[in-house]
């Protein structure tokens, strides 16, 4: 007994209160799938399918069950629907996942990506949006009085059409999205980069429906010009143009639909199109029409209906009639297809029968606009112009028994091999080694800890304590602050969450670089009225206590997932008083003999020109005479009447004379190490915390741009770009280099704004600088050059979404850009405690990015991170398509050889203290084994290891 349900709360409303759902789709995930709907109100809603099942069981929608006994009764009138439609608040609890108001006009179609993590929508505002789920609170559109949604979905915009967008379709790999529009074109988007792959022009009128074939070779589109075009995805040319069959449709007057939704069967063998008129012996009948791929789409077959067909949808599953038997002759696998008509009739056919399995008249009050099948293959949902949607649940014995994953794959393989699709046949295993490795891999994945920890020595973790000192992080506003601009107040709001990387990408494209005032702690007290962003930054940074509080704030806001980090953090804060000893002990590393570098050579060669042309902004005026050193202890440096004073509150702690006729132009200090001042004759003075002169005055080449004392180091950048780093308390020159090579052209137009954030100093005393544009550079003394360690060139990398697990809970940390991620590792916690070492499904990752990340990790000596990346890299190398395999096998072999052969390779040197053979046998090779095409390689290396 099939069961029907009309959930009238599942609705989109226009002013008259009519539920009006243009499109509906069910997410293709097994675990609690979601439904997406859209309509005239411009809102995309996401619901939980489960809530329908619950509503059905509870009989919440009383008397709306329609008994349909199958297959004898073919036509059943479903009962009248209640017309109480005004009460949107009757949405059951926990039913609504999100309510998204990104579109500003009607939304015409929603579709989930094949893997289910993204949702695309197309609207009359000419835009397409792609949504993904984020952490945080969900909001209903303000003023709508809807219940608060349970999840936080965020959208990003794809803009390219010049008129209403009527439909979207995902490619089976999930990397391409096609959208069709009233502007007669189809745009194919790359959703990884949000760029247009191609714009297809071929229809002579509106394009009203489109669908990718499940093997990924074709895209079919149906236009108002009454043509179905089948495009090849290889070169985007038209493979087949079907016009003749639809010619007659024009001759009949009937209610026109905005949509001609078409669909491919799950095996890719058949294409079914809507809105056709079958002509047979001068008799005409509305129909959906089926084309077979093996007949080159030539011989149409018709499904006749009583009214025009607006939409067709195949179940993604295949079925068999006998439950416990193999799929053979006599128990063939078959498909199921649902069709919705203009009169609201729902028809379901199964391919094994020549009669419709189910005809449900008045399934919906108005024309059926869209259909969706649940991933389990037993639920069907239909949306309509009027009245609530229909949820129909089949019993197993009615529709048939869904094939198991294995059976389904066999059927798909067979069909697809006949069709000549470039579909890989997975080769059979040739040895037991492969099977053992596969078992191991599956087991580890299942246990949820594909961890290399097991094979790491404890000593290794000590190596991981790769702390950098003086870490500076621009912060997001934690509290509201305000000041006045002219007559008006300007409020800096409290930041609740930042952008996702895609949004960030959009922002960058429109030339909006992120300004500092949102990311820094405002100054509030010590600067009245006129506010200079630069001051903010340095103010935060130099006062170590503010700094500490800043850090803890960030920990609260971003990292409450991992308590061990916070412990480390606290320890670090506690140690500030012992800073000097701490650093002396810690950085006793012998300084290598210092040689000028390429970067410096450039600086020194062209100093004359640099001074005139390449000038960084001078040290901020506001701090040249008065600077707060420690806000909590209220310690500040002040220059009054030719003398430098150190105040605690208003008490003078000490005073020092700086010389005749000079003024200070820069002040800095740290309560635990020393205080420093630069005078107008470019002389650097250093004082102990008790006011005694620590060192003879130093003469600088130019005026200062930045002067900071950062946990055991003195850091100076001059306006000509010369940067010096001194180790304290010895005042030993660690490094002198020019920052000019890393400054972009535009920086010289940014007068008065911060250009460089205060640096991080690594254990190796390499210096890491972050520029205003978010790029980070490390000065590597071994190379004598700046190297780029973080930038935004791989904005769509999934490492922007890296999640860390803690007690089974996943905490996704919103990332501004890769820089913050990097900082988290290097500046704060040395290396992330990546407890879940399972190589993630590197769907969106590129090899190039992984290589870059590994290079950075290697240089930063962040080994745990390196290993995680390496496993992802191997995983990526192994999960390649057959066509790419030969070139990647060489790369893979190179990695494996490197790991095996010793200590000096790129990979092996980052694996010290790991037991190589165990690592290979238990971690690396099981990953290789997941691709059976590589089984020879896995075997080869197992042999090698055994013979070692």
């Amino acid at each position: 007994m099939g069961r029907a349900l009309h959930p009238d709360w599942l609705a989109h409303r226009v002013r008259q209160g009519q539920p009006h759902i243009f499109s509906i789709d069910i997410q293709n995930v097994q675990d609690n799938p979601r439904i997406a709907t859209c309509g005239c109100d411009g809102i995309v809603r996401i619901w939980f399918l489960q809530s329908l099942a619950i509503a059905e069981q509870n009989g919440v929608d009383k008397e709306k069950e329609t008994g349909v006994s199958l297959p004898n009764i073919e036509e059943t009138n479903s009962e009248e629907h209640p017309s109480d439609k005004n009460n949107i608040t009757s949405i059951p609890q926990n039913a609504l996942a999100a309510s998204l108001s990104y579109h500003s006009r009607s939304v015409n179609m929603v579709r989930w990506s094949p893997q289910g993590q993204f949702l695309a929508s197309a609207g009359d505002d000419f835009l397409v949006f792609i949504y993904h789920k984020e952490e945080g609170k969900g909001y209903s559109p303000f003023g709508s009085k809807e219940p608060t949604p349970l999840e936080n979905w965020r959208g990003r915009k794809l803009s390219g059409h010049s008129n209403d967008v009527l439909g979207v379709a995902w490619s089976p790999c999930g990397e391409l999205l096609a959208s069709c529009s009233v502007d007669n074109t189809i745009i194919v988007w790359n959703v990884r980069s949000d760029t247009i792959v191609t714009r297809l022009q071929g229809h002579e009128s509106f394009v009203k429906g489109l669908s990718f074939d499940p093997t990924g070779r074709f895209l079919a589109s149906h236009g108002e010009d009454l043509a179905v075009l089948i495009w090849k995805t290889s070169d985007w040319r038209v493979e087949k143009e079907i016009r003749e069959i639809f010619k007659e449709s024009r001759t009949v007057e009937y209610q026109k639909s905005l949509f001609y939704r078409l669909d491919w069967s799950p095996c890719g063998r058949e294409l079914v199109c809507s809105n056709c008129l079958a002509v047979h012996h001068d008799k005409r009948a509305h129909a959906a029409v089926l084309f077979r791929r093996e007949c080159n789409f030539d011989k149409p077959e018709y499904f006749k209906t009583s009214a025009p067909v607006f939409c067709v949808r195949y179940s993604q599953r295949m079925y068999k009639s006998k439950k416990d038997e193999q799929v053979t002759i006599g128990n063939e696998a078959y498909t199921a297809i649902a069709m919705g008509t203009a009169s609201g009739t729902l028809v379901v056919w199964v391919s094994k029968s020549s009669k419709a399995l189910l005809v449900l008249k008045n399934a919906c009050e108005g024309p059926i606009f869209d259909l969706g099948w649940s991933p389990d293959g037993y639920s069907l949902i239909a949306s309509s112009a009027n009245g609530p949607p229909l949820y129909f649940h089949f019993a197993e014995e009615e529709l048939g028994y869904v094939l198991t994953a294995k059976e389904e794959k066999e059927v798909f393989d067979e069909v697809r091999s006949k069709l000549g699709a470039n579909y890989e046949n997975v080769p059979l295993t040739q040895s037991t080694v492969q099977l053992e490795m596969e078992d191991l891999y599956a087991k580890r994945i299942q246990e949820g800890h594909f961890q290399t920890h097991q094979v790491l020595s404890s000593q290794d973790h000590v190596v991981e304590k790769d702390k950098m000192s003086g870490a500076y992080q621009p912060s997001l506003q934690q509290e509201q602050h305000e000041y006045s601009v002219g007559k008006k107040r300007r409020i800096l709001p409290k930041c609740l969450s930042t952008s996702n990387p895609q949004d960030n990408f959009v922002a960058r494209n429109s030339n909006v670089t992120f300004e500092v005032n949102h990311h820094t702690e405002p100054i509030g007290t010590n600067l009245n009225g006129h506010m200079n962003d630069y001051k903010n930054i340095v103010a935060v940074d130099t006062t170590s206590d503010t700094h500490a509080s800043l850090k803890s704030e960030q920990f609260q806001s971003r990292q409450h997932g991992n308590s061990s980090w916070i412990k480390e953090q606290t320890r670090e804060e506690d140690s500030t008083t012992d800073d000097v000893n701490f650093f002396v002990q810690r950085f006793r590393k012998k300084l290598e003999s210092y040689t000028p570098t390429l970067a410096e050579a450039w600086l020194f060669d062209s100093q004359g020109t640099l001074d005139s042309h390449y000038k960084l902004p001078p040290f901020p005026m506001e701090w040249s005479k008065h600077r707060s050193i420690n806000e909590e202890a209220k310690i500040s440096l002040r220059f009054v009447n030719n003398d430098l004073y150190c105040y605690s509150n208003d008490t003078i702690l000490w005073e020092a004379a700086l010389g005749k006729n000079v003024q200070t132009i820069a002040l800095a200090g740290e309560t635990s190490t020393l205080y420093t001042a630069i005078t107008s004759d470019n002389v650097l003075h250093l004082f102990s915390i008790y006011g005694s002169r620590l060192y003879a005055p130093m003469f600088l080449n130019a005026r200062p741009h930045m002067l900071e004392v950062l946990k055991g180091y003195l850091f100076v950048i001059l306006v000509n770009g010369e940067m010096s780093l001194y180790r304290l308390p010895q005042v030993h020159l660690v490094l002198r280099a020019s920052v000019l090579p890393i400054l972009p052209e535009q920086v010289f137009e940014k007068m008065g704004q911060p250009v460089i954030y205060p640096p991080l100093v690594s254990k190796q005393e390499d210096i890491c600088l972050t520029l205003y544009n978010g790029n980070s550079y490390l000065f590597q003394r071994n190379l004598g050059n700046w190297i780029s360690i973080a930038d935004d060139s791989f904005i769509h990398s999934e490492f922007f979404h890296i999640s860390f697990s803690n007690q089974g809970e996943y905490e996704s940390i919103p990332q501004r850009n890769i820089l913050t991620w990097f900082r988290k590792m290097v500046g704060k916690v040395a290396a992330p405690k990546i407890s879940n070492m399972k190589p993630s499904k590197v769907l969106l990752e590129t090899l190039a990015h992984l290589e870059t990340m590994m290079a950075s990790a290697s240089i930063l000596n962040s080994k745990e991170e390196f290993r995680k990346l390496m496993l992802c890299y191997i995983d990526k190398l192994c999960s390649t398509q057959a066509t790419e395999l030969p070139s990647r096998i060489e790369k893979l072999k190179q990695v494996l050889d490197d790991i095996l052969q010793g200590r000096d390779g790129f990979f092996s040197r980052n694996l010290d203290s790991i037991e190589i053979t165990t690592f290979m046998l238990h971690v690396v090779l099981p990953i290789v084994s997941k691709n059976r095409q590589l089984q020879n390689i896995a075997e080869e290396y197992v042999e090698k290891i055994k013979s070692m």
């Binding site: 300007r490 959009v506 429109s510 992120f514």
Partner: protein
Amino acid sequence: MSAVEVLQVDVLNNPGFFGDPFRFEITYEVREALQQDIEWKVIYVGCAKDESLDQVLDEVLLPADTVGRFQFTLEVVAPNPDKIPIDDLLGITAVLITCSYRDQEFIRIGYYLNNEYEEAEMNENPPSPPILESIRRHIFAEEPRVTHFLHSFDSNDSYLDENSSHSMVNSYSNLLDTVEETQHSKLKHSDMQSSRMNMF
């Protein structure tokens, strides 16, 4: 799409006295970073039939150059009672929160509010001059009237150029019409609840 979307407005210190400052906690989302500041305005409708008596209580600037969610509390002074006709001091009126970008409004949030003396008798025979300290203000915070106006922000979304036949702008004038009717029907408090229901 709207580059800035209001997610939530919480009306704080409500109900309060006539002279209390208005406080709104506003949560908004920047969906596309904007080059300039957005401007929030709070307008008190002094008299429903005369727009010139609207009082702009404050205008504040907020940055919108970072994509993300933000929250701030907008606190503005109470309206100047001298500029309100004495007949309109009591009864139902409205307070509007608007947000604009490049001097063009893209969202308007309206709240009805009711000013009345605590004692019913005083409402029936209002003292002259009015005793401002005794007037209670109640904002109907659960019933915001939200009006979106299409705005191009920094982009040039082409759909805005078209003569928009189905724009989502609903009429703000309705709100004021209703206020006017209500004000002039001189309703007692007991009737007001039901009349308010009609309005929404």
